[in-house]
Symmetry: C2
Subunit: 212 residues, 2 copies
């Protein structure tokens, strides 16, 4: 079972990108079943206003093989929520892998799960994660350090999940899921973002490569 | 206001990809507000099991500037739902633009909105859309025909929405949203999908281009 954690103010695409890929992997190719886990089973309002209902609360959540935490503006209050840190700290050691998207890595850090790890986050929070200390913050689209996977912002979780599926179930399954969800982006960028000095290193590096 | 229609069995990423981009455009850059619209305001179960609650029902939906319809396995039963076709047929003429992702284009067709238009859909449904007749089906990632935008499967809605924002609000705003959601995909493909003869033409064409 693949648990995806949600909370008030979670960023929608942070968790629905991975949700979709895990769901396709599960329905068509025998992967683990995705479940949405919140502190309580009650309607949550996400960062952009989408309303979702978790399948399980922290107290009744079944055993998980994998757990993923999204980011979003709700992270700020979740950093002070002992129930969130407690759930992650309790469940992570029982999981084969722990993943985060965007500023979800701050919640992993608060639960003590990033000590001595290489990790990343949304580009606007790289400095904040560095300041939390004890973690090697890299500016990659996603990074794997053993059983801990962290991705950059929002949409980067999709790329991370494809790599995760390839690592777990093989390249052929990852390719099949990729074709199912037709994830073949056009690579088009707008407004010269790859030349924006605020952009994370992997974006700026791609911008300086020939052919983009 | 940017209405995103949902129904039982709607594909999660089909509508949450566009939802996220419109939400960011709205919250940070003054774009239209996204609202989720269902036949009734009641919890819906999506194609991969995500549970969402629409903000409005068809009967109490406020005036919309834009309307977007996702696809998913639920499309099959919605094709026989007169309330869905009726809502789309009534609202579309009052909108500045009408959009679909994946097999949402079949629902636009059923509402009479694709007559004489160029359009696309998920690669596994291209033939089905052709058989519906009176529409020029192309194998592009997304296609715009006047005020009607249709995209290929699932994740293709993200690329379409960025182009839509660029067209509506300019390249600089589209770039800002793109950086906000860090949509800078790594372009990695698995299992040689670009050489899969079942893949849509735009994927196969990219596969034969140098450098991919």
């Amino acid at each position: 079972m693949f648990g995806i954690v949600v909370f008030e103010g979670a960023e929608e695409l942070d968790f629905v990108g991975p949700w979709e890929l895990v769901g396709m992997w599960h329905q068509v190719h025998g992967g683990p079943r995705p479940v949405l886990v919140g502190e309580r089973v009650a309607t949550l309002r996400c960062a952009k206003g989408l309303q979702v209902v978790p399948h399980h609360g922290f107290a009744d959540c079944p055993p998980l093989n994998h757990v993923l935490v999204p980011g979003g503006r709700g992270v700020r209050s979740e950093l002070g929520n002992a129930a969130m840190a407690g759930f992650l700290a309790e469940r992570a050691p029982q999981c084969e892998s722990v993943l985060s998207v965007c500023t979800g890595s701050l919640l992993l850090h608060a639960a003590g799960l990033l000590a001595g790890r290489r990790a990343t986050t949304h580009w606007t929070s790289l400095e904040k994660l560095r300041q939390m200390g004890g973690v090697d913050v890299v500016e990659e689209r996603f990074v794997r350090d053993g059983d801990v996977w962290t991705s950059a912002g929002v949409s980067a979780g999709i790329d991370m999940l494809l790599a995760f599926i390839a690592s777990t179930a093989g390249e052929a399954v990852a390719g099949a899921v990729q074709l199912d969800v037709e994830y073949f982006p056009d690579g088009c960028t707008y407004g010269g973002i790859e030349r924006d000095p605020r952009a994370p290193r992997y974006v700026r590096d791609a911008g300086s490569a020939p052919g983009r």
